[in-house]
């Protein structure tokens, strides 16, 4: 699943784990930095608007913690934690 751009990963600071959408608290907000994962997942996420610089807010989590509801560009979208972890956000 992690056949993402190696050059991208190399560019990131690998000494600490990067903050992802899955790490945001409910009500928290951050800007997208990069999107990882296999090609299809990346394409889907990017096409839905998770491009660099977009502001994303965490609206809520489902009762069992998963999936997570986000708000971006004026609409609501749910992602599983597994996918949300592939979207890196600004610290």
């Amino acid at each position: 699943m992690h056949d993402s751009n190696f050059s991208e990963i190399a560019k990131l600071n690998t000494t600490h784990k990067h903050r992802t959408l899955a790490d945001l608290a409910v009500g928290g907000q951050s800007k997208v930095v990069s999107v990882h994962g296999d090609t299809e997942l990346r394409r889907r996420l990017l096409e839905m608007g998770f491009v660099n610089g977009v502001e994303v807010t965490v609206v809520r989590r489902a009762p069992l913690g998963d999936p997570i509801e986000f708000r971006l560009r004026g609409y609501n979208l749910s992602l599983r934690r597994d996918q949300a972890r592939h979207v890196y956000v600004k610290d």
Binding site: E40, R43, E55, A62, R71, N76
Partner: protein
């Protein structure tokens, strides 16, 4: 392909018919626009070769020309892989032999959600076909304090933009007029990284050299080069649609692409990402120029994500309860519970009414028609069979109505959100929830709805277990069996047992899914991206439309399949007919009407088959009459009830009486005097019906959706063996506990 030089549809004015494709995001209100344009002149079919629904219709344009409108499946993008999106892309590019390339594309855009909707628009513009934008849901945008200006959007895009409120039918005439003014949008200057632009020119040049020079002669050289560069872009970003296959598999091209991609990745550029980001930069510009939200001076660079507006806040308030950890699940259980109780309780008076009508119809036939096969066929075959089943239409209509309301209001998406974690534990998908829920009405639309599940194995697993959700066709059987033996315990117990049947189905489904997903349907963790549309009041006209459509489908099934089976079954039970002297002899020896009826049944072909089967099903508590019923139920489960009706009533038409089925069943006895129907037998039969796959239509649909016979056959074997074993266990163990010898 359209000629690259025409830039409007004026030349089509001469033609009598044009093809219009309706494209747009899911939840953009495309369907209401389609309904508004075509009215009742619609047709639903299937795209050959795939299991995607094809909706077409027609309307008259102001100049007298006829527009054939194709309502494409809702899509987010033209490059993605789900079957729906693939078909949409193919139709738009004119790649499908069954659908002509559209002359005009009408893009339906949700005004309250402009940014995300514009992504598809940006791709449609790249297609280069004459286009019109229908700016829908203007009312929703207004209620959110978003001032979306059609004029400014038109200035930005360069195509006619018509404001529309689909579900109120506003703007439709203007839209029709605009179709005649459709224009090819000028290609925006998507700002790609410099290095990527250079690679595009390189690859584009290569394609031009290798390409078909005939093309180059019909347009200017510049135009031709532009098109090759656009082609290069499609290839570089990873578009692998069928029309490109010939190109990127050929040797000079595939090396060119490989080297370009390599050089770009050295620079840290991912073509796919760069392309999408360039589109979104353009979207930001267009959106900023078009939308003004109340409270901000110019609206420039407004970030919709950062402020809440009235209607969105209202949706949020509702969601905070409905998706709450605790309250959400409670509400969910309440809603589902009410649904089922209401169906069981509300429908009863209506059903009684229909039953009364049936009895009178039968009596009328007996009164007016001479004795003989025709009268027998009408009373038992036709009226008895079909009528009994039609009595259940109220229940089914109610179920469809509730489902339609839940879907239209936006609640169903929330339900998928809530249920995803649970479903994921079994290896399924949140998106499986709606197909499975629909299967409670009928597994056929449920199985068809699985095409939104992208992962093939998840999809298969969902299709496999959909028939376990007790469908509406089982309701008549449940009601009959529960009513006969447990009516004396009151409504609550009956509802309880019925809920138990549903629960058994669900448990079987869960265990099956778990087992399958662990073994041969194993797949990698699947993605889950679900859009939660904002809540809206369900449009009762839409709901009514859905109910009528679906209930109508059920009735036509009753009308055709079941009528056919009822008559066939009647014939199997009527012929060969007991000769009159034998009947008289029986009557003389004191046999009552039922015994004569039973003798007739045994004498007929159906009876012979049933008798032959009996040894195999006695251990389950079933006798040969039930055996006949089970076989007939294969055509459609409801037919079981009508078969019972026929098997117990045959022979009584001579005497001019129409038997009440339930009374007849209770009175039935084996030759040794023991009761045929006992509560334990009823339960064993119920278990069978919950678990067995007895529906030819379901098998046919499963075959279509899975693309072969392998899975449907497996389903039949698995479910019926399971049903046999379960019924066996229930009856034998129950017998031991209650000392009822077999």
């Amino acid at each position: 392909m359209t000629s690259c030089c025409a830039d409007s549809t004026e030349h089509l004015l001469a033609a009598g018919t044009i093809t219009v494709a309706l494209a747009g995001n899911p939840n953009s209100g495309k369907t209401t626009v389609f309904n508004g344009l075509t009215g009742l002149k619609q047709k639903v079919a299937n795209y050959p070769g795939v299991t995607v629904e094809k909706k077409t219709g027609s309307c008259k344009l102001p100049n007298g020309a006829v527009a054939n409108i194709v309502d494409l499946p809702g899509t987010y993008s033209l490059i993605s892989r789900s079957p729906d999106e693939l078909v949409a892309m193919e139709v738009l590019r004119g790649l499908r032999p069954d659908t002509p390339a559209p002359d005009v594309v009408v893009a339906v855009v949700d005004a309250s959600n402009l940014q995300r909707n514009l992504y598809l628009i940006s791709q449609l513009i790249e297609l280069g076909r004459p286009m019109v934008v229908a700016l829908n849901m203007m009312d929703v945008a207004a209620s959110r304090g978003l001032a979306v200006s059609p004029q400014r959007l038109e200035a930005q895009l360069g195509v006619p933009v018509i404001p529309v409120v689909g579900h109120k039918r506003k703007g439709i005439p203007e839209l029709k007029a605009a179709i005649l003014r459709a224009k090819i949008a000028p290609l925006p200057d998507f700002s790609l990284p410099q290095a990527m632009q250079e690679e595009l020119i390189l690859v584009g040049g290569g394609l031009a050299i290798l390409g078909d020079h005939e093309d180059g002669k019909s347009c200017g050289r510049r135009e031709y080069l532009d098109r090759q560069i656009a082609l290069a872009e499609r290839l570089l970003i990873g578009d692998r649609a069928d029309d490109l296959k010939q190109i990127w598999t050929r040797e000079p091209v595939s090396s060119l692409l490989e080297h370009s991609a390599h050089r770009l990745s050295q620079l840290g550029i991912d073509p796919m990402q760069a392309d999408i980001e360039a589109h979104y930069r353009w979207i930001d510009e267009v959106s900023a120029a078009t939308v003004q939200s109340s409270g901000s001076a110019t609206g420039a660079a407004a970030q919709p994500a950062s402020h809440f507006n009235r209607a969105a806040a209202f949706s949020e308030k509702i969601d905070s309860i409905l998706i709450h950890k605790f309250w959400g699940l409670i509400t969910f259980a309440l809603i589902m519970g009410t649904l089922f109780l209401a169906i069981f309780w509300l429908a009863q008076p209506i059903m009684d009414g229909v039953q009364w009508a049936i009895n009178h119809g039968g009596a009328w036939a007996v009164h007016w028609l001479p004795e003989g096969p025709l009268r027998a066929m009408l009373t038992d075959g036709v009226i008895g069979g079909v009528g009994t089943v039609l009595a259940f239409v109220p229940q089914i209509a109610l179920l469809f109505m509730f489902l339609a309301i839940l879907e239209d209001s936006g609640y169903l998406a929330r339900a998928a959100f809530l249920m995803d974690r649970l479903l994921a534990k079994v290896g399924l998908h949140g998106k499986s929830f709606i197909p499975l829920l629909s299967s409670f009405a009928c597994a056929i639309p449920g199985i068809m709805a699985t095409r939104t599940i992208e992962n093939r194995r998840d999809r298969l697993a969902t299709i496999m277990i959909a028939p376990f959700m007790s469908c509406s066709a089982r309701l008549p059987v449940y009601t009959l069996l529960i009513g006969v033996f447990f009516a004396k315990y009151g409504h609550l117990t009956q509802a309880g047992i019925m809920l138990g049947c549903y629960a058994l189905g669900i448990i079987a489904a869960v265990l099956t899914a778990y087992f399958f997903k662990r073994t041969f349907l194993k797949s990698v963790a699947t993605s889950f991206i679900l859009e939660l549309p904002s809540y809206k009041m369900p449009q009762m006209s839409q709901v009514a439309r859905q109910v009528v459509l679906n209930a109508g489908k059920f009735v036509t099934r009753a009308g055709t399949t079941i009528l056919f089976f009822s008559v066939v079954l009647w014939a199997l039970a009527y012929y060969p007919h007991l000769p009159k002297d034998k009947q008289a002899a029986l009557a003389a020896s004191g046999a009552d009407d039922n015994a004569i009826a039973a003798a007739q049944s045994g004498y007929s072909i159906a009876g012979q088959i049933g008798h032959g089967m009996e040894p195999a099903i006695r251990p389950l508590g079933f006798d040969w009459k039930m055996g006949v019923g089970l076989i007939s139920a294969f055509g459609a489960r409801e037919v079981f009830v009508s078969t019972m009706g026929i098997t117990y009533a045959v022979g009584d038409t001579e005497g001019g009486k129409t038997n009440d089925l339930q009374a007849a069943m209770v009175k039935d006895r084996y030759p040794n005097g023991r009761r045929v129907w006992t509560p334990l037998v009823a339960i064993s039969l119920l278990v069978w019906f919950v678990l067995a796959l007895q529906c030819m239509s379901t098998i046919a649909i499963a075959r279509r959706e899975t693309g072969g016979w392998r899975w449907p056959i497996f389903m039949v074997l698995y479910m019926n063996v399971l049903a046999y074993v379960a019924s066996l266990a229930v009856f034998q163990l129950g017998g031991l506990i209650w000392h009822q010898a077999v």
